[in-house]
Symmetry: C2
């Protein structure tokens, strides 16, 4: 009679633990989407400034917001929870992924420093070299948006 | 023969000027969406931290990003271009709208100051009082998302 007991226990455990675990995974995925979406929105705003279709009054603030958000991004990927647009390679190649993400944070922090010390013209002049989004997305992001 | 000439000139002018004017308006609307979407994403991330479904490591960065973005928001609404989710009341009641937006920027800057000087626990304890998004959205934002 031991087997059915174990099975029932396992089922009972699953009933209590699995839904909760799934909810946690959903939260983890949602959280990193908020961060990556922020980077996307702020980069797009900066892109509009670079293409001169909107005034550049907020340029430095956008650079600072990108640097700030870049500094929060790696933490959001630390839980090993595939899903959203993140490819499993993020965790399979964690050393490379985290190196790239840290470099992105450092480069954008440097751009923010240039903006503070030398002004927005200097910071904007090579900002596209600091926004290494594409090279990393090509490797670690699914092309299509999930629902 | 003057009238047809004037009419043709007006049409020619419209052909050159109107599409460009429309493109500008589209840019203006897109730009402020990037800013308001950033506030939305960062507030949602902070909301997840407040409801303890994700760790609070990035709490101060989120507060800073909100304060920084709040400081850029009013500028994005200065061009009088209704559209997106902005109700025409934004410009009809500009004195009230800009007062509220400036207060939002000041309150979130204050929260960022508290976070810096007293730590994240102190800043998080009353952050919801500083995020006055809802009261303003109820008056100035269309409920439904535009396409």
């Amino acid at each position: 009679m031991k087997r059915p007991f174990v099975t029932l226990s396992a089922l009972a455990l699953a009933a209590f633990v699995l839904p909760s675990a799934r909810a946690d995974d959903k939260d983890v995925i949602e959280y990193r989407k908020h961060i990556m979406n922020t980077l996307n929105e702020q980069s797009a705003a900066l892109g509009q400034i670079l293409s001169t279709v909107v005034p550049d009054d907020n340029a430095v603030a956008h650079i600072n917001a990108i640097a700030l958000t870049a500094s929060t991004a790696l933490k959001a990927f630390e839980p090993k929870v595939p899903g959203g647009q993140a490819k499993p390679d993020v965790w399979a190649n964690w050393a490379d992924f985290s190196k790239r993400m840290n470099e992105f944070a450092q480069r954008t922090a440097q751009a923010a420093k240039v903006a503070k010390e030398q002004g927005k013209e200097a910071a904007l002049s090579n900002i596209l070299d600091q926004l290494t989004c594409k090279s990393c997305h090509e490797v670690y992001r699914e092309d299509k948006k999930d629902k």
